[in-house]
Each structure stands twice: as C-alpha cells, then as structure tokens.
C-alpha cells in the first residue's frame, strides 16, 4: 500500500515547485518562444506571399512586354508596307512622267523635223520656180528676137482665151 499512498510532503513540494516553474517558464520561456515562433511563421508567410506577388507581377510585366513587342512589330510592318507602296508609287509616277516627257520630246522633234522639211521643200520649190522662170526668161529673150514667132505665140494664146 505504501506506493499508492500519496504523501502530503511531496504533494506540497510538487504544488509549490511546479507552480513556480510554470509561472517562471511562462514569463521567461514560453511567451518569448511562442511569440518568436509566431513572428517567424508570419514573416515566412509574408515572404512567400511577397514572392508570389512578385511572380505575378513578373508575369504581368512579361505579358506587357510581349504586347509591346507585338505592337512594335506590327508598327514596323505597317511602316515597311507603307514605304514599299510609296516607293512603288514614286517609281510608277517617275516612269509615267518619263514616258510622257519622252513622247512629248519625240513629238516636238517630229514637229521640228516636219517644219524644217516643209521649209526645205518650200525653198526647193521657190528655187525650182526661180530657176524655171530664169530659164524661161532666157529662152523667151532669145525667142522674141524673132518677130514672126512672137506673132504666132500671141495668136495661140488668143485662141486659148476664146475657148474659155
């Protein structure tokens, strides 16, 4: 029975010492330990949340970058296309202008040639007429020295007038 009979002395000391230990440990050990643990856990949680947020932000940033890049690419394509069209237009215009200019110049040249030709022809004609008149004058001067022949010619002319 001895071992199952509690002794008053040990109960007394156990109560006193144990309660002192609980109070001392609560003040100097458990409270600082538990608050440090809580603090550490919340700081770890905060760090994790911040990392997540940073990741999200990075993703958003990356998406933004990609969008910007795509926009830039589109812009470049547009500018390139515009430039090509414009240059094509320029070339086309230049070509038409050149053709027109050439045609005009050819026309002008033709005109000049024609004028020159006409002038030349007129001169040739004049010269030919002058020559024939000169030749005819000289022939006439020699012929008219002879009187009967002159009478004969006048007569033939008169005959011709009569017919008209």
């Amino acid at each position: 029975m001895n071992i199952v009979t509690p002794e008053i002395g040990l109960i007394f000391w156990q109560v006193v010492i144990f309660l002192i230990v609980v109070l001392l440990l609560r003040a100097y050990a458990w409270k600082p330990i538990l608050s440090s643990l809580k603090e550490r856990e919340s700081s770890i949680e905060g760090a994790l949340r911040m990392a997540d947020q940073a990741k999200l932000e990075m993703q958003q940033l990356q998406a933004g970058n990609e969008k910007l890049l795509a926009e830039a690419r589109m812009e470049r394509d547009r500018i390139l296309k515009e430039a090509t069209t414009m240059s094509n237009q320029f070339i086309e215009q230049a070509k038409t202008k050149a053709t027109e200019e050439g045609a005009r110049m050819i026309e002008q040249a033709r005109e000049a040639i024609r004028n020159e030709k006409n002038a030349a022809l007129a001169e040739v004609k004049n010269t030919a007429a002058q020559l024939s008149i000169d030749i005819a004058e000289r022939i006439l001067r020699r012929e008219l020295t002879d009187q009967p022949a002159q009478q004969q010619l006048v007569d033939s002319y008169l005959k011709e007038v009569k017919l008209n």
Binding site: G9, L10, Q14
Partner: protein, 350 residues
C-alpha cells in the same frame, strides 16, 4: 552524440542497479535471504536520504534535510543523517522510510526527500534549458534555430499544433504554458528516473496526483456553460434518464484526471519494477551465468522506457488538452460527429 550519451547512461544505470544488490547479497549470505520484492519497493519508493551505492561496508549516501511539523512541538529541521540506522532525533525516527514520532503524535513530513530533490533538479533543468532556448530566440530573432533551440523547437511546435490547436481550438494560447511545462516536466522527470541513482519521481502517486489535480482545476475553471449543460442536461437524453446520467457524468469529471494520475504512475513504476526484476534474477538464481540474459532484457526494457518516457509525457499532455478542449468548446457538433473534428478550425458560425 546524444545517442552515445543515452547508451552511456543506460550502461551506467544497469551497473549501478546491479551493484546495489551485490551488497545486499553479501549481507544476505551472512544474515537473511535476498528479498527481491522488498528491494524493488525500496527502490521505487521515496526515502529521506539519497543512497548512491555501497562499496563493501561503506555506504555512499547524500543526507537530505528533514522538515517535520508536529502540533505539539512545532517545526523541526535537521539532516537525515541524525536518523540514519534507526537513530531517534528530536523525538522522531524512521520506520520503513516513514517519519514517526516516538510519542505517537501526528507528524506532517515536509522533508526534502529524494523525490523532492529530484523534483528540484528537474525544475532547475527545465528552467535552465528553456530560458536558454528562449534566449536563443531573443538573440537570433526570426532566423533559423541553432543548437538546443533546434532540438526543442519541433517538440514545442508539435505540442502547439498537434496537441493544443487540435484539441482545444482557437482558445489554445492561454493553455500553452501549462501544456508545454507539463510535457517537458514529465519527460525530463521520466528521463531523470532512468539515470543511475535517479529517483522514481513520475512513478510516485503524489506527483501524478498533483499534476492530475492541476489539470482538473484548469478544466473546471475554464469550463463554459456548454460543459455544464452537457453534464446536467445531456442533449438527446430523455428527462427521467437524467437521474442516472447526472451522477455518471459527475463521476466522469473526476475519473478523467484520476485516469491521468494512474496511467502515468503505473507506466513509470511498472518500467522500474520490470528492470529491477530482471536484475534481481541474478541474485535469485545466485548464478553469474544468468547475468547476460538479465542485462540483455534489462537493456531492452531500458530502451522501451526511453520511449515510454516521452510517450507518457505526450499522452498526459494530449489528454489534458482534450479535457480542457471539452470544457471550453463553444458548441457540441463534435459530439455528434458533425464537423468540428478538426480542432484547428472549429467553432465557426453554424
């Protein structure tokens, strides 16, 4: 390193225990027969002096102070050396480690016995260890734990998350100091009891009685109206049956801490008795050949006791937390298995 130390303690413990009965057998061969029952009860009981070992005829003993109060003669304080070997001092003498007065007056014995001394050592150890652990937190702040801090941190977190939060619920923080202290007190005391020459502190009914009584008081003082409603008007029980249910529930209030008391006491005492019994075998058979078997079994029981030391501390803490949890619970859903099973997130609006 720690394992090596434990192994060393274990070996020392066995040799120390073995050496004590050697003297007894030496005496026994001369005068009386070896009585294992008496030897074991002497070893697991309390005593007024701390007997370490006996070499031949020299007893190596630490005499502890005797503090006794008698209604007539008041307080007497003296060394237990004065009472050694049946001597009478100030009208007091020891009868089977029990302090009695020669004139038959009632003696209130408040002596610093072997168990009280062990209690003081365990308490000092707790204070030194955990205040230095707390200092580690103060020094390192939220950085990773080191040394002793990292050894105890998982245990503290385990008690907080797996025991207190799950059993008590959102109000767990108030009870953390008691739960942590009781866990580490029982564990340290159990380990001290396993050291060679160590006292059987947690295997003493007075110690477990006190711890269980503190648990009961905390439970009663933190109980809310649901707790009492459950006792005096158990939900779902017809009115006439309450005449039976109320006494049963009231007995339950006392039986819970009573089971705590008996469980710890019986487990630790049983371990000590089994170890001592295996050692006693050598002296019962009076044959050195039995020693290897005794030591092998003793070693096995010792390692088992190392496990039991922390297991019983855990069980005591867990049950304490569950009793407190039952007293502070806001609703009774858990009783009907309707949710509330997870103590970490209970008592939400229903």
């Amino acid at each position: 390193m720690k394992r090596l130390l434990f192994a060393l303690f274990c070996l020392l413990s066995l040799t120390a225990r073995a050496s004590e009965p050697v003297a007894t057998t030496a005496d026994a061969t001369e005068s009386e027969n070896f009585n294992p029952g008496e030897m074991i009860l002497h070893h697991i009981g309390d005593s007024h002096e701390w007997h370490w070992f006996t070499l031949g005829e020299t007893h190596v003993t630490t005499y502890l102070p005797v503090i006794a109060y008698r209604a007539g003669s008041g307080l007497s304080v003296f060394s237990s050396h004065e009472l050694a070997e049946g001597k009478v001092h100030e009208g007091l003498k020891l009868e089977h480690e029990h302090l009695v007065s020669t004139d038959g007056a009632k003696v209130y014995d408040f002596s610093i016995t072997k168990n009280v001394a062990t209690l003081m050592i365990a308490s000092a150890l707790l204070l030194i260890v955990f205040i230095s652990v707390a200092r580690g937190y103060a020094k390192r702040g939220t950085a990773a734990p080191r040394g002793m801090q990292s050894f105890f941190e998982p245990l503290i977190i385990f008690i907080r998350d797996e025991v207190a939060k799950k059993s008590i619920g959102p109000k767990y923080e108030r009870y953390m100091p008691y739960l942590l202290t009781v866990f580490f007190f029982i564990w340290f005391s159990n380990l001290l009891g396993l050291l060679p020459g160590g006292a059987n502190l947690t295997g003493n009914i007075a110690v477990t009685l006190t711890l269980a009584a503190i648990t009961l008081l905390i439970t009663l003082f933190s109980s809310n109206k649901n707790y009492w409603a459950h006792i005096f008007a158990t939900p779902g029980v017809p009115k006439p049956l309450l005449f039976i249910m109320i006494p049963v529930e009231l007995i339950g209030v006392v039986v819970k801490p009573f089971s705590l008391m008996v469980r710890l006491f019986a487990n630790i005492t049983a371990g000590h008795i089994v170890t001592l019994s295996f050692i006693s075998l050598i002296f019962i058979f009076r044959n050195i050949g039995i020693a290897p078997i005794s030591i092998a079994f003793g070693l096995f029981i010792f390692f088992l006791e190392l496990l039991v030391a922390i297991l019983q501390a855990y069980i005591f803490t867990l049950l304490t937390a569950m009793y407190i949890g039952g007293a502070v619970e806001d609703h009774h859903d858990a009783d009907y298995q309707i949710g509330g099973g997870d103590g970490a997130a209970p008592a939400q609006a229903h």
